[in-house]
Amino acid sequence: MDERLLIEQLRQGEEAAFRTIVETWQDMVYNTALGIVQQAEDAEDIAQEVFIQVHQSIGQFKGESKFSTWLYRITVTKALDHQRRRRRKKRFGLVRSLFSAENEPVVDPADFQHPGILLDRKEHAGLLFAAIRQLPENQRVAFTLHKVEGLSYQEVSEVMNTSVSSVESLMHRARNNLKKYLENYYRKNP
């Protein structure tokens, strides 16, 4: 169905249009969130929040960018917010653990396995995801959009609202940082 027509119908409050939008873009949104937060339950929560926001603020979509670009932006923002909240909770939990004997630790998804990884690459991918978690936010977003979602540098630059050369630079730095992390890991775990 035509994207513009769907958006127009959603603006008019048609639930069928909303359902079609969700079913068309749910994998894209979920996969992006999963790539960033690396936890299935959290990724589903984020994907739901993204579509709730779409439903509530479709009026703010002016059509200046592609609808999918708008969706990617909302997803990335929500996933990063989630990560920041999680880090704050972890820090707070650490402080609390100094004063209290009983508390629930915030566990990092250390052995995250993306369900779309090929069987023979699972081990490498697990390690790579652990390394991606160490990257600064911008590099992590660029790398995830390019490698996990398969977006071109041009598309990544549109989502991140930056130039293609900035994305190239982010990818270059991300790759260097990942190399350093992996080299360190293999030196310590031969």
């Binding site: 994998d27 790579l128 080299e183």
Partner: protein, 127 residues
């Protein structure tokens, strides 16, 4: 101990770990779960959204800093006005042949008379 070449090879293998990755799906009945959540959580009011926005640590800190900065500016301006008023009064006193301000504490008392003093100067100029 692994050679540098071995490590480089393993790093390259790890870096290609995401090659051929397929998109993950949220599982069946995602739309049903989404609708259930939307019905359980009514849309937030504008006040609730504003509260959440102001509740963000970065925003809250920025607001506190803004209030502190505006207070500091107001305080400095107030002190500056008082000094100006004291200086005006001192000039008037000198003009009238009175002694200057000897005691700094008295300078603040003189500040309240500054408006009258300025009006007197204006009257004199008009005459």
């Amino acid at each position: 101990m692994e050679s540098r070449q071995d490590i480089t090879k393993r790093v390259e293998q790890a870096l290609s770990g995401l090659d051929g990755i397929r998109r993950a799906s949220p599982g069946p009945y995602f739309y049903t779960r989404l609708r259930a959540r939307m019905e359980a959580e009514p849309p937030r009011t504008a006040w609730e959204r504003m509260g959440m926005f102001l509740g963000r640590p970065a925003i809250a800190l920025a607001v506190v800093l803004l209030i502190l900065a505006s207070n500091t500016v107001l305080l400095f301006n107030h002190t500056g006005n008082r000094k100006a008023a004291t200086a005006t009064q001192a000039l008037l006193n000198a003009e009238n042949g009175q002694a200057g301000v000897q005691n700094p504490e008295n300078a603040y008392d003189l500040a309240s008379n500054s408006n009258t003093a300025i009006l007197n100067i204006l009257d004199r100029e008009n005459e």
